[in-house]
């Protein structure tokens, strides 16, 4: 089974790879995404580029895995990355959810404590 990407595909994937990676790196430097997310998100561009730049490697890999068409391997790996990313997101969201609950509770209890203290101050002054 032979598979040769066209020159248009190579150009398109290269442009996408550069633009996308630059955007990701910029966001990572600005702390908008963390390093682990950078790796996961960059794979969306890196995996197709492997298919374009190393077609023979991909054909061999497809044979090893036992899939007939290399693009099945491409979509399979991309789906896997998306699931890993989703899994991480769900855990992160739940952690944030628990932290928000904790913060709201502690903040509300602190307000009550301060109000109680404030209400006690005039009484203490009178006692003095």
């Amino acid at each position: 089974m032979e598979y040769h990407p066209t020159i248009q595909t190579v150009i398109f994937v290269t442009i996408f790879l550069i633009v996308y990676l630059v955007a990701l790196v910029k966001n990572t430097i600005k702390n908008s995404i963390d390093f682990y997310d950078l790796i996961l998100l960059s794979s969306v561009a890196v995996i197709p580029s492997i298919f374009v730049f190393f077609p023979k490697l991909v054909v061999s890999l497809a044979r090893i895995v036992g899939v007939e068409f290399p693009f099945l391997l491409l979509f399979g790996s991309l789906f896997f990355i998306v699931f890993v990313y989703l899994y991480r997101l769900v855990i992160k969201i739940n952690q944030h959810h628990n932290r928000i609950i904790l913060l709201i509770q502690e903040f509300s209890l602190l307000i009550e404590k301060l109000q109680k203290k404030k209400a006690n101050v005039p009484e203490q002054k009178q006692d003095e």
Partner: protein, 234 residues
């Protein structure tokens, strides 16, 4: 020498401006030796204003749901070194006249968690068949999973001792807190007991769990119960 336990009576409520003063008034009439804390779960009405005229009140800056509100009260109890914690709902379903039933039961024979049950004396209550079916299935699942028959798993009228206060102030279920906290208590080796109490019909509004939602509630509660039971083996 018997030391009188310090008791905190916690009333979590959300938009109960119309009911809360009546309940607080009734509690005062009972002349119980309890400190009262109302946890206003981010109400948009005058609940906080009304409640703070009668007792201490914590206003949550955002609505957390019943689990979050009860846990706030438990943290307050732990911080202020209370021996016992009693929770009653702010919607008027738990008559303050029944508070002494829980306290008396604890003083007679202590347990870490005492649940006030509507069904211990009268059996099942009159309700829609879907609601009865839902409660029956959850009760059976609970008995099968934890080997204990708890007649009123959805009762929020309960008493907790120091051990339970410590446990639940750190970890309290946010979803379906009543049945899940009971399962959680049993799983952590706490003693759980039920006492018969009288409850009233809701004075304002209606239950949020009705119609098809009962089945969703049933499935989710059973799912959580299975997870808690599995937690022992994972």
């Amino acid at each position: 020498m018997n030391v009188i336990p310090r008791i905190l009576l916690a009333i979590p409520c959300y938009n109960e401006g119309a009911n809360i003063s009546k309940i607080l008034q009734e509690i005062k009439e009972q002349e119980t030796d309890c400190d009262i804390i109302v946890v206003d779960d981010g109400s948009s009405d005058n609940t906080y204003f009304v409640a703070s005229q009668f007792s201490h009140c914590v206003k949550l800056v955002a609505n957390l749901g019943i689990g979050g509100a009860v846990q706030t009260a438990l943290k307050y109890a732990l911080e202020n070194d209370y021996d016992l914690f009693i929770r009653i709902d702010g919607d008027g379903q738990h008559p303050p006249s029944q508070i002494h039933v829980l306290i008396k039961s604890y003083l007679t024979s202590s347990a870490n968690l005492i649940i006030g049950s509507r069904f211990l004396l009268i059996g099942d209550f009159q309700s829609t068949w879907t609601r009865r079916l839902g409660i029956g299935v959850i009760r059976s699942a609970f008995k099968w999973l934890f080997g204990r028959k708890i007649t009123d798993l959805t009762s929020g009228f309960m008493l907790m001792d120091r051990k339970a206060i410590r446990l639940f102030s750190a970890e309290y279920p946010q979803d379906f807190p009543e049945p899940i906290s009971t399962a959680f208590a049993l799983e952590r080796g706490l003693t759980v007991r039920e006492v018969p109490v009288q409850m009233r019909a809701r004075e304002q509004g209606s239950s949020s769990i009705r119609g098809i939602k009962i089945f969703a509630y049933m499935v989710r509660v059973i799912g959580y119960l299975i997870l808690i039971r599995m937690g022992r083996h994972i």
